[in-house]
Symmetry: C2
Subunit: 362 residues, 2 copies
DNA sequence: GCTTAGCACTCCTGATGGCCGAGTGCTAAC
DNA sequence: GTTAGCACTCGGCCATCAGGAGTGCTAAGC
């Protein structure tokens, strides 16, 4: 049935066609998605007609459902089961039907309660944010540490290691400490390194890394012929430090929450998901993508070619300083996720994290 | 059957009693453990008698097995199944029967291959070690970052944050960077902090944290009445920094390997295990315990009251610098673990890590 | 006196089949 | 355009059954 290319008799009925869904189909799709989110079981026409005063008989609902299925918004797992939303169905629901409320004060304070911040390092705070997200949403919380390049310079330190390697410690204005090992061709003494540190700390404080990059390039061309050994060294080293990304590490907290979800009774699927969690590169990619966008982002299932997280959705929001976005956090759970509840939680947590990090600024 | 307190007819047979196991029982226990490690299925008397030329009929083996069961080394899941080792059985096997070989050159180089170390931070190296352990053993690898207190001082840096808080960055001689936020009652300027940093960096370099602790206490009592503002400040701050443990973070790598193990088809058990992984405090405790001991340690199942890791074993070894143990790493897997293979891998990896960290010393 | 063959027994496993209920698509009537 | 009715499908559940693996016990053998 419903072979592509063949006309069906009811093709010309006043039933939603193409991309348009009429009011009735929308409401039915909405009912299916929402019921399925609650129950995790295929939804039948009878259930839809009974619930939520759509004044329609099961038979009518069945007709609409058949159309929704043909259009790819829902599928039935087997002949005599109800229907289940597809990724396309979720996407339509999220983009068009979903109404996200604000968190009420109680929920906010519940989030804030979780968020203990006394005397914690930035990293720990971010990790804590992940735990909050996972605890409140009961899915998994993900947090990406700020990338070096999106932070503001506060302090740099060079320490000489053996074999011509140098340990660079970099502190951002929000108190995030990152480090990196670089190698130099020309040997340099610890004393010189200290001079370079001092010089950079004096000249760069308060600049964003982007600005520093620009400045470095400018200085390098300008002072190519400089005889100031110190300056040359400083430029060389900063170029080396800036040459490669630092950070972008991802924390996943509460992954075990996902085990509770009934869709992961299927061991195989779960294994794949956990492997993806371990590898992290996939998540980094998604979170990077999200960081380039604004506001709450929703990635649904295997949209966008990531088969590993098939059946999962990711809701993200960016956290930021006064200078703009610095990182991303979110929640990952089954596509059958309680979007209307989780979205405001992610949104609010991102705001909270932004605030908390701001406090550290001197 | 075998009710405690009742004599059995064969109680006085020349069969192992009390803690002693005779040669025959040992060989049978060994066969059961080893077969079970391979197959993950209860081992019957027939299988034992056939395998590994014990010149005994199944019936005889059955008698011995009944005794082993009574003594608590094995159990049978149900009447008509074979026997499975208990924790006590594994313990006896590991302590008495197991013969651990050396790794051959090929295996060593396989481990070394995994271990790419160019230009990595210490933390990343340790994480990498966890990945190696998990990949080679196909269980989960665990690595505990050195605790502050077991390292050697290289460099300290104080940076002022808002609200009287101070960010302390601490670098150990092996290049490990850790940081911490402390609070002081009396306000202090960034300039003073720099003086303190300089002072401490000059006086403390090359001392172990233990030595510094001792020195600080000594200095404090000696110079209680000092009018040297700088020295007082330095002492105050170091006390604050030393007042609490830093580090002891645990990485778990390749946890998804454990999903492959047939004993974790039981979802519930798996969930508990993953929750324990997430909480980490349990692992920290175990690894701390191991760090206090010498050589390869083996924790089996729910020995020592940790019910969360029931059915799992943990094999650990310490890695060290020339000044002694600095951290611990290991492998966690099902009790039904290939001990003879994993033990030398853990041992060798610990040595390798020790070497690699040593390289950084200046 | 230890060892072993034999035997009855237990219990898990997997296959089979029947029943029930939920849900469907289609048709015809409203 | 909507709905009632109906035949049909199919998964889930349960009971049944046969097969097999393994056991404990007993009695015979070395």
């Amino acid at each position: 049935m419903s072979q592509p290319g063949l006309f069906r008799l009811d093709f010309f009925k006043a039933i939603p066609m193409g991309e348009e869904l009429n009011e009735r189909s929308r409401r039915i799709l909405e009912a299916i998605v929402e019921d399925y989110i609650c129950t995790a079981e295929p939804i039948g026409s009878r259930a839809v007609s009974r619930r939520h005063q759509i004044g329609l008989s099961p038979a009518t609902v069945r007709n609409v459902m058949a159309d929704l299925e043909e259009m790819g918004y829902i599928v039935s797992p087997h002949t005599s089961a109800g229907r289940v939303p597809t990724d396309k169905g979720y996407r339509f629901y999220v983009d068009t039907l979903l109404q996200v409320g604000q968190l009420d004060a109680q929920q906010k304070s519940r989030i804030e309660q979780y968020y203990r911040l006394d005397g914690l390092r930035v990293e720990e705070r971010l990790r804590e944010a992940g735990k909050v997200l996972s605890a409140i949403s009961s899915y998994a919380g993900v947090v990406m540490i700020p990338r070096f390049t999106s932070t503001v310079f506060r302090h740099i330190e060079f320490l000489k290691l053996s074999h011509g390697k140098i340990l660079v410690i970099f502190v951002s204005r929000s108190g995030l400490v990152q480090n990196k090992v670089i190698e130099t061709e020309t040997p340099i003494s610890q004393h010189e390194l200290e001079q370079v540190s001092n010089y950079l700390n004096q000249t760069l404080t308060g600049l964003s890394i982007q600005e520093i990059k620009a400045k470095t390039v400018r200085d390098m061309t300008e002072e190519k012929t400089t005889y100031d050994q110190l300056l040359r060294r400083a430029l060389e080293l900063s170029r080396e430090v800036l040459s490669e990304e630092i950070g972008g590490e991802v924390f996943i907290e509460g992954a075990s929450n996902i085990l509770e979800q009934s869709e992961f009774k299927d061991m195989d699927r779960m294994k794949r998901l956990f492997r993806a969690f371990e590898q992290k590169s996939l998540l980094v990619e998604l979170l990077d993508k999200s960081q380039r966008a604004k506001g709450v982002q929703i990635f649904i299932g295997s949209e966008s070619e990531y088969s590993e997280i098939e059946g999962c959705s990711l809701i993200t929001a960016n956290y930021s300083s006064s200078r703009g976005t610095i990182g991303t956090l979110g929640v990952i759970g089954p596509s059958r996720m309680n979007y209307s509840q989780v979205i405001p939680v992610v949104d609010y947590t991102a705001r909270l994290v932004s605030q908390v990090l701001e406090i550290e600024f001197e």
